[in-house]
């Protein structure tokens, strides 16, 4: 009788320790099946007080800015050296004229801005006008005190541009709305949404590599042409101050 009692108490399910081990095993199986999501979420909450603070973020951003500016300077030097070697037009920032927008027509078909600097300040017809973000247009006419700029969105505006990713030249034409159209004269051009468009390095009208916009949508190819809608980086509707780059012609 005594023997029977001893055997029954020695069964494994009678031991609390075994149940604990089994529970942990089940939990680990669940964690495995859920690909560690519970564990990761748990870690998210317990590590929160130790995340990098605002100060650390600023330090990192400042370092990144410094790194970018150093890289930019090196690339500028390289660019000038290579352009000299290839006898291409130089981009210069030394001859800029700051001007305020005194009239703005950015709706309907007439898309132009009038600036408060004219021929007396040295503004010439054909000068490039840039604003925060990139290219706005070109000076079409000047008076003694003012200069009129035809915007990229005007139906009268046509410019040669460069799509950097696919290394292709295209034609940017204003269509009377806020989104000029890019025409690529190749049906097979691999243009994609998000591609960056800048002024063409081969252009004789504009300084090279001025940012213009980003491809917003690409239309279906039509008659050996591919067209895309461009979102301009510089917004003429809101810009109050611009820079006039003196014409090289």
């Amino acid at each position: 009788m005594l023997d029977i009692r001893r055997i029954s108490t020695s069964r494994w399910w009678h031991k609390k320790k075994n149940w604990m081990l089994f529970s942990i095993f089940l939990f680990l199986v669940f964690v495995r099946i859920s690909k560690g999501s519970i564990y990761k979420d748990f870690y998210f909450f317990i590590s929160r007080p130790f995340w990098p603070g605002q100060f650390q973020k600023e330090v990192i951003l400042e370092s990144l800015d410094q790194e970018s500016s150093i890289k930019l300077n090196l690339l500028k030097k390289d660019n000038i050296r290579l352009r000299k070697m290839l006898y291409l037009q130089e981009s210069s920032t030394s001859d800029n004229i700051s001007a305020a927008v005194i009239s703005r027509k950015t709706g309907s078909w007439w898309r132009q801005i009038i600036l408060n600097k004219g021929s007396k300040d040295g503004v010439e017809i054909g000068s490039t006008v840039i604003g925060p973000g990139g290219l706005l247009g070109r000076v079409r006419s000047t008076s003694f005190f003012t200069s009129s700029v035809i915007l990229l969105t005007s139906p009268d505006s046509k410019l040669g541009v460069w799509v950097d990713r696919i290394q292709t030249n295209g034609l940017l034409i204003g269509s009377g709305d806020d989104y000029p159209k890019l025409i690529l004269y190749s049906k097979s051009a691999d243009i994609k949404v998000g591609d960056f468009v800048s002024s063409s390095p081969a252009s004789t009208l504009l300084p090279p590599n001025i940012p213009i916009g980003i491809v917003q949508s690409v239309d279906e190819p039509f008659k050996a042409k591919k067209t895309a809608k461009i979102l301009l980086l510089a917004k003429p509707q809101v810009i109050d101050w611009v820079q006039i780059l003196k014409s090289k012609n």
Binding site: R104, G107, S108, W109, Q112, S154, D156, S175, D178, F222
Partner: protein, 179 residues
């Protein structure tokens, strides 16, 4: 001075059309588009002076507006001349309430005519490129402009017509006294 202003109010308004055209008050716009300002002056002037003078006023307006806009390839003259001739054939009614609505409708149609003629020039010029690209934004421009012009015309045109008629009567009385 006051007499001079009253007498020459039509010329003063004519001078201010390109200024308001350039000013482009965004708070009066819709979808970034403005009413077609020159029609507000052209309608009362042509109604008072007739078709031939309407044609001349249209030509003058077109010339001055073409000079302040930069599009050298397109012109507003044909639309404004046609509007000037048409507006000159419209009689002035005594019923001011009906007149108000008529001004709105007439200016809307005039704006549609001018807009369409301008659009046709753009299409013709860019025929070799993708002309379809211009179609949707241009239709949007025309519709917004027609709506806004028709919306503001009853208010502005009736006031201007009153001023111009008054100034013309004053001038004719002065001339009659001189004779």
């Amino acid at each position: 001075m006051n007499k001079f202003l009253k007498k020459k109010i039509s010329i003063i308004c004519f001078v201010f059309i390109p200024i308001i055209f350039l000013w482009h008050p965004s708070w009066l716009g819709f979808l970034g588009i403005q009413p077609y300002w020159p029609l507000f002056w052209l309608l009362p002037m042509s109604m008072i002076h007739g078709s031939i003078k309407g044609l001349i006023f249209g030509l003058f307006l077109g010339l001055i507006l073409d000079s302040v806009t930069l599009e050298s390839n397109f012109t507003q003259i044909p639309g404004l001349i046609l509007c000037g001739i048409w507006f000159g054939r419209i009689k002035i009614y005594a019923d001011s309430l009906v007149g108000h609505f008529r001004y709105g409708l007439i200016c809307s149609f005039g704006s549609f005519l001018c807009g369409t003629l301008y659009f046709l020039q753009i299409l013709f010029k860019n025929f070799s490129d993708s002309s379809l690209l211009f179609f949707i934004p241009s239709v949007q421009n025309i519709i917004a402009q027609v709506f806004l012009t028709g919306f503001f015309a009853p208010l502005i045109c009736s006031q201007l017509l009153k001023f111009f008629k008054y100034s013309r009567e004053k001038t004719s009385i002065i001339n009659f006294e001189k004779n």
